[in-house]
C-alpha cells in the first residue's frame, strides 16, 4: 500500500488501471460515478422486484401471494431501498460524473474520501438485505420506522437495520462534503457562482440539506437503538418520552430528504429543456433563488406529515401555511421551464421526452402535495393511497424520471456512443403509459378511503387495484427494455460527437466523447465559460 503513495502522483495523464481492482481502488470521479450509477440501478431492480410482490398481492382482494407480515416487510424494504439505495446514490453518481466536468475541475476535491463514500454503500445494502434471513424477518414497520413499532414491537433484525442506516448516513454526508468542497474550491477560477450550471447549483444546495438532515436521522436511529437495548425512554411515554417525538425527529430529516431527492432532478431538467428548446434557460437567477428558498423552507414544514398526531391547532395552522409557501418557488421553476420552451424550436429526442413529461407529471405530484398540505383535507387523505399516489408522482415521475432523462442525455458523453433512438422512444412511451396506469388510479383509491400499507382490501377497491397492478407489471417490464437499450448502446452504439446535441451548453460538451479520464487538467478560460454558460443565448 505504501508504494502507491508518493510514486503515483505524477502519473496524472495515465488512463485507468487494468483489472477488477481498479474499481475497488479508484479515486477517479468518473469511475466512482459509474460505480454509483450501476449500484443504484441494481438496487432499483431489487426494490422494483419487491414492488412487483406488493402489486401481485394487491391484484385481487384477499390474501393470495405472501403472508401479511412478509407483505409489510416488502413495503418497508421497497421504500428504504428505493430512497436510500436507488434514488440518492443515482444522484450522487450523476453529481460525481458531471460536477467536475461542469465546473472545469480535474476531479473531485477529496478523491480518496469519494471512493469511501461509495464503498460504504454495498456494505450497508448487504446488511440491510441480510435482515430477510434473520429470525423475525426483515423490518416491517414501514420506511418511516415509527416508534414504538420499531422499538418495542420490532424484531431483532431492527438493530442491523439501524446500523445500515448509520452507514448510509456516513456515505451521504461524505458525498455532500465532497461536492461542497468541489464546487466551492475546484471551480475554474474564472467561473463565478452565478455562472454555474443549474445542476451544480442544485447539487450544492442539496449538499447543505444532506449535511443538515442526515445527522438528525443518525440521532433518531441512535435513540431507537438505546431505547431498544439500553432502557432509555426517548420514545416511551412510561418514562416521560414520547413516540410522537420520534415522528418530529424523523420528519425533521424526512422532509428535507424529499427535497434531497428532487432538487438535483430540477437541475437536470433545467439542462435538458433549454437544449431541445434551443433557447437559453428562462430566469436563470430566479431558478437559483427558488432552489435556495425551497431548501430553506424544507426545514420548517416537517410536521405536515403529522397533522393527525394530535398537535395543537396553532401547530397545524403554522405547518399548513408554511407548506403552502413551498408551492411558490416550486411554481417559479415550473413556469420557468414552460417559458423556456415558449416559442422555442423544439425537437423531441428521448431526453427531452423524459424532461417534458417530468414537467407534467411532477406537477401533478406537486398539486396532490398541496392538497395533502391542507389540514382539513389531509384528515381525509392521510395514510390512504392518495398519499401513495402523491409521492410516487413526485418520486417516480419526478426524481426517477429525471435520472432516466439524465442517463439518455449524458450517455454519449459517458460512453462515447449513441443509444438506439427508436428503441429509446418505444421505451419512453411504454414507460409513461404504464406508469400512469399504475399510479393514477391510486388517487381514486385513496379518495375512496383505501388505506396504505395493507395487504388486503374491501371489495369496492378491486377494480382500480387490478388496473394499478397491471400498470405495475407493464412498468416493471419496461426495465428489461431499458437494460437492453443501455447495454446495446455501450456495446454497439454509433460513435458520438463531442457535442451530440447541437445546442447543448456546458463545459462538459467541450471535452471529448467519451470524456477524457481526467477532466480539466487546465482550467477552462473565461471565454469558454461564457460561451458555455446557461445565460448566453444559443447561436
Amino acid at each position: 500500500m505504501a508504494t502507491d503513495t508518493i510514486a503515483a502522483h505524477d502519473d496524472h495523464h495515465h488512463g485507468p488501471e487494468k483489472g477488477l481492482l481498479r474499481w475497488v481502488k479508484t479515486t477517479n470521479h468518473k469511475d466512482i460515478g459509474s460505480l454509483y450509477l450501476w449500484f443504484s440501478f441494481m438496487m432499483l431492480l431489487v426494490g422494483g422486484a419487491f414492488a412487483m410482490v406488493i402489486r401481485a398481492e394487491l391484484f385481487m382482494p384477499g390474501i393470495q401471494v405472501v403472508d401479511p407480515h412478509f407483505f409489510n416487510s416488502m413495503t418497508t424494504m421497497h421504500g428504504l431501498i428505493m430512497v436510500f439505495g436507488a434514488i440518492m446514490p443515482a444522484f450522487v453518481g450523476l453529481g460525481n460524473w458531471l460536477i467536475p466536468m461542469m465546473v472545469g475541475a480535474p476531479d473531485m476535491a477529496l478523491p480518496r474520501m469519494n471512493n469511501w463514500s461509495f464503498w460504504i454503500l454495498p456494505f450497508a445494502g448487504a446488511i440491510l438485505l441480510s435482515t430477510f434471513f434473520m429470525e423475525g424477518g426483515a423490518p416491517a414497520f414501514g420506511w418511516t420506522f415509527y416508534a414504538p413499532l420499531s422499538t418495542t414491537f420490532a424484531p431483532d433484525s431492527t438493530d442491523f437495520f439501524i446500523f445500515a442506516v448509520h452507514l448510509l448516513g456516513f456515505s451521504s454526508i461524505m458525498g455532500a462534503i465532497n461536492i461542497i468542497a468541489t464546487v466551492l474550491n475546484m471551480r475554474a477560477p474564472d467561473m463565478k457562482l452565478m455562472d454555474m450550471p443549474l445542476f451544480v447549483w442544485t447539487w450544492l444546495i442539496t449538499s447543505f440539506l444532506l449535511i443538515g438532515a442526515m445527522p438528525v436521522l443518525a440521532g433518531a436511529v441512535t435513540m431507537m437503538l438505546t431505547d431498544r437495548n439500553f432502557g432509555t425512554s426517548f420514545f416511551d411515554a412510561a418514562g416521560g418520552g414520547d413516540p410522537v417525538m420520534f415522528q418530529h425527529i424523523f420528519w425533521f430529516f424526512g422532509h428535507p430528504e424529499v427535497y434531497i431527492m428532487i432538487l438535483p432532478a430540477f437541475g437536470v431538467i433545467s439542462h435538458i429543456i433549454p437544449t431541445f428548446a434551443r433557447k437559453p434557460l428562462f430566469g436563470y437567477s430566479s431558478m437559483v433563488y427558488a432552489t435556495a428558498a425551497i431548501a430553506f423552507l424544507s426545514y420548517i414544514v416537517w410536521a405536515h406529515h403529522m397533522f393527525l398526531t394530535g398537535m395543537p391547532v396553532a401547530g397545524q395552522l403554522y405547518f399548513m401555511y408554511a407548506t403552502m409557501l413551498i408551492a411558490v418557488p416550486t411554481g417559479v421553476k415550473v413556469f420557468n421551464w414552460v417559458a423556456t420552451m415558449w416559442k422555442g424550436s423544439m425537437t423531441f429526442e428521448t431526453p427531452m421526452l423524459w424532461a417534458l413529461s417530468f414537467v407534467f407529471l411532477f406537477t401533478i405530484g406537486g398539486f396532490s402535495g398541496l392538497m395533502l398540505g391542507i389540514v382539513p383535507a389531509d384528515i381525509q387523505y392521510h395514510d390512504t393511497y392518495f398519499v401513495v399516489a402523491h409521492f410516487h408522482y413526485v418520486l417516480v415521475t419526478g426524481a426517477l424520471w429525471s435520472i432516466i432523462a439524465a442517463v439518455f442525455y449524458w450517455f454519449p458523453k459517458w460512453t462515447g456512443k449513441m443509444y438506439n433512438e427508436s428503441l429509446a422512444k418505444i421505451h419512453f412511451w411504454w414507460s409513461i403509459i404504464s406508469v400512469n396506469i399504475l399510479f393514477f388510479p391510486q388517487h381514486f383509491l385513496g379518495l375512496a378511503g383505501m388505506p396504505r400499507r395493507i395487504p388486503d382490501y374491501n371489495l369496492q377497491f378491486a377494480d382500480f387495484n387490478m388496473i394499478s397492478s397491471i400498470g405495475a407489471f407493464m412498468f416493471g417490464a419496461s426495465f428489461i427494455l431499458f437494460t437492453y437499450i443501455i447495454i446495446d448502446g455501450i456495446r454497439n452504439g454509433k460513435p458520438a460527437k463531442a457535442r451530440p446535441w447541437e445546442s447543448a451548453k456546458g463545459l462538459e460538451w467541450t471535452l471529448g466523447s467519451p470524456a477524457e479520464y481526467h477532466s480539466f487538467d487546465k482550467a477552462p478560460s473565461r471565454k469558454a465559460i461564457e460561451q458555455e454558460s446557461q445565460h448566453t443565448s444559443v447561436a
Binding site: 500500500m1 503513495t5 496524472h12 456494505f123 462534503i177 461542497i180 468542497a181 416511551d236 418514562g239
Partner: protein, 295 residues
C-alpha cells in the same frame, strides 16, 4: 512535473475499502453483542481494530504526502471546507439530542402530566407527576414497555460541583490551545509543546472527572433507564465525552507531529483542524452545562 501547480489527485487507494470492511464488521459485531451473541464482543473489537488501522494508515499517508510537499494551497482549502462541514454535521447530530431534550421538557412531560386540559394524552398516564430533572418522579407504569424497571434517582446532581469545575477545565483548555496556536505562528516550538501538553492534560482531567461524575450518578440512581432525563443526560454527556476522547487522541497525534517538525508557521492545517474540533467540543459542553445541568 511540479506538484505545486496542479491539484494533487491521488491514484488508487485501499484505505476506504479497508475502512468499510472495518466499520461493517464492527457494526455487525455490535448488533450481535446487543443480542447476547457470544462472539459479538470479539467481532466488534476486531472491527474497531481494522478501523483504527485504517485511520492510522490513511491519515499517515496524508501526513506523508503533506510533508513531502505534494499539496498546494488549493488542496489545503479543500481540507478546510471538508473539516468545517464535517463539524457542522456533528453539530446537527448533537442538535437531534438537544431537540429531544427540549421537546420532552417543553411538551411531552407537561402533556403527560395533564397540561392543555389533558386533551393530548387523556387518561393515558393518570397519576404521572411532572418533574425536571426527574427526581422521584412518578409514573403509573413501574416499568418501561420493554420490561426493564425504571430507576428513579433520589437526589439532584449538583450543578456547581463537578459540572461547574469541568466547565472551567474545558474553557481553560480552549485558551491553552489558542496559546499553542499563537506559539505555532510565532514558531516557538517549546512553547507550543508546553501549551499542547497543558491542553491534553486538561482534557484528560475533564474525562477523569466525568467518569467520577458518572459513578456518582449511578450511586444516586440516575441511570440510562431513569426515564427521559436519564436518557438525555447520558446520551448527551456520553457522546460529548466520546468526542472529547477523540479530540484528546487527535491532540496527542498533533503533539507528536509538532515534535517531528511537521508544521510551519504558515502551513499547519492539521493543527488547525484539530483545534476547530476541540473548540466545537467546548461549545457543545457549554450547551450541555446550561441545559442538562443547570436550568
Amino acid at each position: 512535473m511540479s506538484s505545486k501547480d496542479s491539484y494533487y489527485v491521488p491514484h488508487g487507494t485501499y484505505w476506504p475499502i479497508i475502512g468499510s470492511i472495518g466499520i461493517a464488521t464492527m457494526f455487525v459485531g455490535m448488533a450481535n453483542m446487543f443480542h447476547g451473541v457470544s462472539w459479538g464482543g470479539s467481532v466488534t473489537a476486531l472491527g474497531l481494530g481494522i478501523v483504527l488501522f485504517m485511520m492510522f494508515g490513511w491519515l499517515g499517508q496524508v501526513v506523508n504526502e503533506s510533508v513531502n510537499g505534494l499539496y498546494n494551497s488549493q488542496v489545503d482549502r479543500s481540507f478546510r471546507w471538508g473539516m468545517s462541514w464535517f463539524i457542522f454535521s456533528e453539530v446537527m447530530f448533537f442538535a437531534a439530542f438537544f431537540g429531544a431534550l427540549f421537546y420532552a421538557r417543553e411538551f411531552a412531560i407537561p402533556w403527560l402530566s395533564g397540561e392543555g386540559n389533558n386533551q393530548f394524552t387523556p387518561d393515558l398516564w393518570n397519576g404521572f407527576v411532572q418533574t425536571w430533572p426527574e427526581i422521584a418522579f412518578k409514573t403509573p407504569a413501574a416499568e418501561l414497555r420493554n420490561g426493564t424497571a425504571l430507576s428513579v434517582p433520589t437526589e439532584l446532581i449538583d450543578t456547581w460541583g463537578l459540572p461547574a469545575l469541568n466547565t472551567a477545565i474545558l474553557l481553560l483548555s480552549g485558551v491553552t490551545l489558542t496559546f499553542a496556536h499563537h506559539a505555532l505562528r510565532a514558531g516557538e516550538r517549546n512553547k507550543i509543546i508546553g501549551w499542547l501538553v497543558a491542553t491534553i492534560a486538561l482534557g484528560v482531567a475533564f474525562l477523569g472527572f466525568q467518569i467520577a461524575e458518572y459513578g456518582h450518578a449511578y450511586d444516586i440512581g440516575l441511570k440510562l433507564n431513569s426515564g427521559i432525563y436519564g436518557s438525555t443526560f447520558f446520551m448527551l454527556t456520553g457522546f460529548h465525552g466520546f468526542h472529547v476522547t477523540v479530540g484528546a487522541l487527535m491532540l496527542i497525534v498533533i503533539l507528536y507531529r509538532v515534535q517531528k517538525g511537521h508544521f510551519s508557521k504558515e502551513n499547519h492545517f492539521g493543527f488547525e483542524g484539530v483545534a476547530w474540533y476541540w473548540h466545537f467540543v467546548d461549545v457543545v459542553w457549554l450547551g450541555l452545562f446550561v441545559f442538562v445541568y443547570w436550568i
